[in-house]
């Protein structure tokens, strides 16, 4: 079972596709989840996910925008996709019939 932050990372990486790397994932998490993720949390979670076989990482090309530094590129593996889907299923099932789940078209109080 994934952790909440691991799920956020997998979702952000999947959404970014072939443009998924450290800084982009941080931005994506900040935009989607609304909180700032620290570098420590990001890179240790990337390591953990890679160890579990849920993502693959490799060093990309250096760019001038990054001061000639290389990116750590991220790709979600098939196992990662399955794990994220399973997590989402569990959250969706667990949330069914709960009052804080907004129905489509309902006005928020």
């Amino acid at each position: 079972m994934l952790g909440e932050f691991e799920y956020l990372m997998l979702s952000a990486s999947a959404r970014l596709g072939e443009h998924a790397y450290g800084a982009a994932i941080r931005r994506e998490i900040a935009n989607s989840a609304g909180y700032r993720c620290s570098l420590g949390a990001l890179y240790t979670t990337l390591d953990r996910l890679e160890k579990k076989g849920l993502i693959q990482t490799w060093m990309g090309e250096a760019t001038a925008k990054r001061g000639g530094r290389r990116k750590r590129m991220v790709r979600v593996t098939a196992k990662g996709v399955r794990a994220a889907a399973a997590f989402y299923e569990v959250v969706a099932r667990a949330s069914r019939g709960v009052s804080w789940v907004r129905k489509p078209g309902a006005v928020q109080p």
Partner: protein, 236 residues
Amino acid sequence: MIRLCWWLIETMSRLLEPNERDAVLGDLSESSELAGRALLDVLGLVVRRQLASWGKQLLRSFAGVAIASGFSFYFRDNIYGYLGRHLAHTLYVLSLSHNLTYARPVYPFGLYLKLSIMCGLFLASPYVLWQFWLSVSAGLSYQEKRSAWPVVALSSALFMSGGFFACRVALPAALPFLISHSISFHPAVSISACWDTAAAFVVGVALAFELPGLCWLVHLSRRVARRQRGPEISRH
């Protein structure tokens, strides 16, 4: 201030693995992060990485010191009697009251606790060094491992002999010198002030004795770190 922060970030990031360092510094320059926030981020990552690599050994070392301290606490009166002998003698020679004072009820217990921890540190020092050695030895060649064995043993012996030297020779010589300067003042020597000084003195001298061995172990750990980032160094 901003420059200092970036200099600190550059320096601290050297503790990271080269590829990770590249990615982290690149991410920071790309995201135009505030210097202070970036510094905290890098510090957090460095601490996480260091704890991950030293964590198990650190935990075992703490456990070793704690067990040895518990054992020492059982013999607290003997330890106090042994270490306090010189202090009482010095105070007697200088015609000062050897009845030490305390301001709070917790101080006498605190004193015994501190002394126990200090003795625990000495008793557990071979084990602590052994743990340090274990964290380094995985990256060493067979010859290096063989050459380091005597250094670990010697370091423990030096640490203990440093403590013994401080208790038997340095402390009895230093105390009269320190206290003789207070003759013109009214003395109210408290147990915590007096024993804090003595404990810091003993541990300090013991560490000074152990320095050659520590230097050698740090040298070995740096060699292991360099070896781990070998391909990166040859790239530059």
